[in-house]
């Protein structure tokens, strides 16, 4: 194998490919992340429709594939085959480029998201700053899309979303800073903006930042959690695309593939901001209680979690297969679901084998592999909780009005986040 492939794998230092200078592996990671996020968006699409449907006493997609499992694929095919309409009065070039801006911004963010200590494309010195900056570029796509459509509803949607995002970025940034302040509570007294560094700081201090200085960390986290919903234009802050007011807001004039790019960007941005929240406050890739329960046996037990999760999913799917109506009409669906269950079971088995193999050998490839899976698993699990919360919000709450949204952003969130920041700084100095 060529040297530039192996040198990264052989290096004993735990570095991300970007930091190790391995462009080949960085590219591989980029591709994996791109595919993974796209897959996650597809899953999220199905899950949102399904979960929302069950919130609302209905079944959701049931026709395409067993329990509508193939619905996202059908949707994607439909959207790709749909006629791509550009209104005559629209600004052709800007109309064309707008979804790409949003998509680029949403996906570029993933270069610094640490799925694990080495499971990131690069460990940037200014990771969190880069993330905030690039994700704030996403609003450009929305603003420009609304303007280029040359229509009133998209324009109002764009104006709303630009005002909204600019306002909430302030509170969001201040909340982030109070988390970054906490990273400097070490012997050297220097904090870090690196995403991996932030998680490692939590590891060193032995506490997730959400529980640090108890109410302070939590308040900052809560502010971020609210602001990130506003940043991604999701309910109850989905004013930019408020369908009952602005029909579809900024993407009213969009259709087909171009529209689906907006959706892809929205969901990718949701995952990205959730990843920021997880990294900053919820210990990133760390499993629960890494300091308290650090005996090898605990290590092993926790490393079984990914396998058991998939096993559980497989079991649920099997139950679903068994509960399918005994009618010849459902035969194909039943077979499909069974195949899906077997697939999940196979993945579970694989993960369990890796967990067991990683236990016996100390520093082998299997152990590294197991650690990697663990890190990614816990990270994804925490992000998944946020994604569920997004759906939950949407099912529960009405939509805020524009002036109320602004009022909350400027008159409630901003003072609180400023106060938390100041108090965190004072407490930090005292503790030191």
């Amino acid at each position: 194998m060529p040297n530039f492939i192996m040198s990264y794998l052989r290096s004993t230092e735990a570095l991300t490919p970007g930091s190790a200078g391995s462009q080949f592996w960085a590219l591989i990671y980029v591709l994996i992340i791109f595919a993974g996020v796209s897959l996650a968006v597809i899953c999220m699409n199905w899950l949102e429709r399904k979960a929302l449907a069950h919130f609302q006493v209905r079944l959701g997609p049931m026709r395409v594939g067993p329990h509508g499992l193939l619905q996202p694929i059908a949707d994607a095919v439909k959207l790709m085959l749909k006629e791509d309409i550009i209104p005559t009065e629209a600004d052709q070039f800007v109309f064309w480029v707008a979804p790409l801006i949003g998509l680029l911004a949403a996906f570029t963010v993933y270069t610094v998201i640490p799925f694990g200590p080495t499971q990131a494309v690069s460990d940037m010195n200014i990771g969190i700053l880069f993330m905030l900056g690039v994700s704030s570029l996403g609003v450009l796509g929305i603003v420009v899309a609304g303007w280029a459509s040359n229509s009133h509803y998209p324009l109002i949607g764009a104006l709303r979303s630009s005002a909204q995002m600019v306002s909430y970025e302030v509170a969001m940034g201040l909340a982030v800073i109070s988390a970054i302040l906490m990273t400097s509570l070490n012997t050297s007294g220097t904090g870090t903006l690196s995403m991996i560094g932030i998680v490692q700081a939590q590891q060193q201090q032995g506490v997730w930042f959400i529980f640090k200085f108890f109410p302070l960390g939590f308040i900052a986290f809560a502010i971020f959690a609210i602001a990130m919903v506003a940043e991604t234009n999701r309910a109850p802050f989905d004013l930019a695309e408020a369908e009952s007011e602005l029909t579809a807001g900024f993407h009213t004039e969009y259709s087909g593939l171009r529209w689906s790019l907006f959706m892809l960007a929205e969901y990718a941005a949701m995952i990205a901001v959730s990843a920021i929240a997880v990294t900053l406050w919820l210990g990133g890739w760390m499993r629960p209680f890494p300091n308290l329960l650090h005996a090898p046996v605990w290590e092993f037990i926790f490393s079984l979690c990914p396998g058991f999760t998939f096993a559980g999913l497989a079991a649920i799917t099997l139950i679903g297969t068994a509960r399918m109506p005994a009618h010849s009409f459902f035969k194909i669906q039943r077979i499909g679901l069974a195949v899906f269950a077997v697939l999940l079971g196979f993945i579970a088995l694989l993960l369990l084998v890796i967990a067991v193999a990683g236990r016996s050998a100390d520093i082998s490839v299997a152990a590294r592999f197991r650690d990697g899976i663990d890190h990614v698993y816990w990270f994804v699990l925490k992000v998944a909780v946020f994604m569920y919360m997004f759906i939950w919000y949407r099912a529960t709450w009405p939509r805020y009005r524009f002036d109320q949204l602004m009022k909350i952003g400027w008159k409630v969130m901003l003072p609180i986040s400023l106060g938390v920041l100041v108090v965190t700084a004072i407490v930090g100095v005292i503790v030191k």
Binding site: P2, N3, F4, I5, S7, S11, L15, T16, G18, S19, A20, G21, S22, Q23, F24, D91, F93, V94, V97, S122, D123, M124, N125, I126, L129, F130, L132, G133, V134, S136, L137, V139, L140, V143, V144, G146, W147, A148, L155, A158, L159, S162, A163, M165, V166, E169, T190, L193, S194, I196, G197, Q200
Partner: protein
């Protein structure tokens, strides 16, 4: 732990026996510079203000890329977050409220454009003469990299380190006070009743 950008590049250079070149090549520099210049020209030549704004964003982003190549990631990050993410959104916000039909019919340049061109030429000449005549000023062609990261250097310069006051602490505080006054002034001027 010092996983900075520069260390990444350093280790890239050292570990480059695999045959891959480091990222910071002249090729990148020239393409970013060309992008910045071309989009900068587009900013002033586009009739449509939104197109100009989009070109300006590209300029700002390519300048941010140049900062990155200079091992100044913090400045690059701030460039993106403040200029491209913040100020340009507000720009667009205002531009969208402006009636573009009329703006696009107006004259692109007013009558003093020769003066502007002359000023630009003079500035250009100045730069060239400084570079040509002042070669002695730029003896060190290699970039000395400090041990600490660029972000930390900026922090030290602004806030001081180890109890000492920083080099620019006073200027920084004055500047922030000025900004605060400007914000308050903007609020007072736009709000009819406080």
């Amino acid at each position: 732990m010092n996983p900075g950008m520069h260390s990444a590049l350093n280790s890239a250079v050292t570990a480059a026996n695999g045959g891959m070149a480091p990222v910071a090549t002249p090729w990148f520099f020239y393409s970013l510079a060309a992008l910045a210049v071309i989009s900068g020209v587009l900013v002033i030549t586009r009739r449509n203000a939104v197109h100009s704004a989009l070109a300006l964003i590209v300029t700002l982003l390519s300048v941010a890329g140049l900062y990155l190549m200079l091992y100044a990631p913090f400045v690059a990050g701030v460039q993106i977050i403040v200029y491209a993410g913040g100020i340009m959104v507000l720009f667009l916000f205002v531009i969208m409220l402006v009636n573009l039909d009329r703006a696009s019919k107006d004259r692109q340049f007013n009558r003093i454009w020769p003066v502007g061109l002359a000023a630009a030429c003079v500035l250009m000449a100045l730069f060239v003469s400084v570079i040509v005549k002042g070669k002695a000023l730029f003896t060190d062609r290699g970039m000395p990299l400090s041990e600490s990261s660029n972000t930390q250097q900026i922090a030290n310069a602004l806030y001081g380190e180890a109890g000492r006051m920083g080099q620019y602490t006073f200027a920084f505080e004055i500047a922030s006070l000025l900004l605060l006054v400007a914000i308050l002034g903007a609020v007072i001027m736009t709000k009819k009743k406080i």
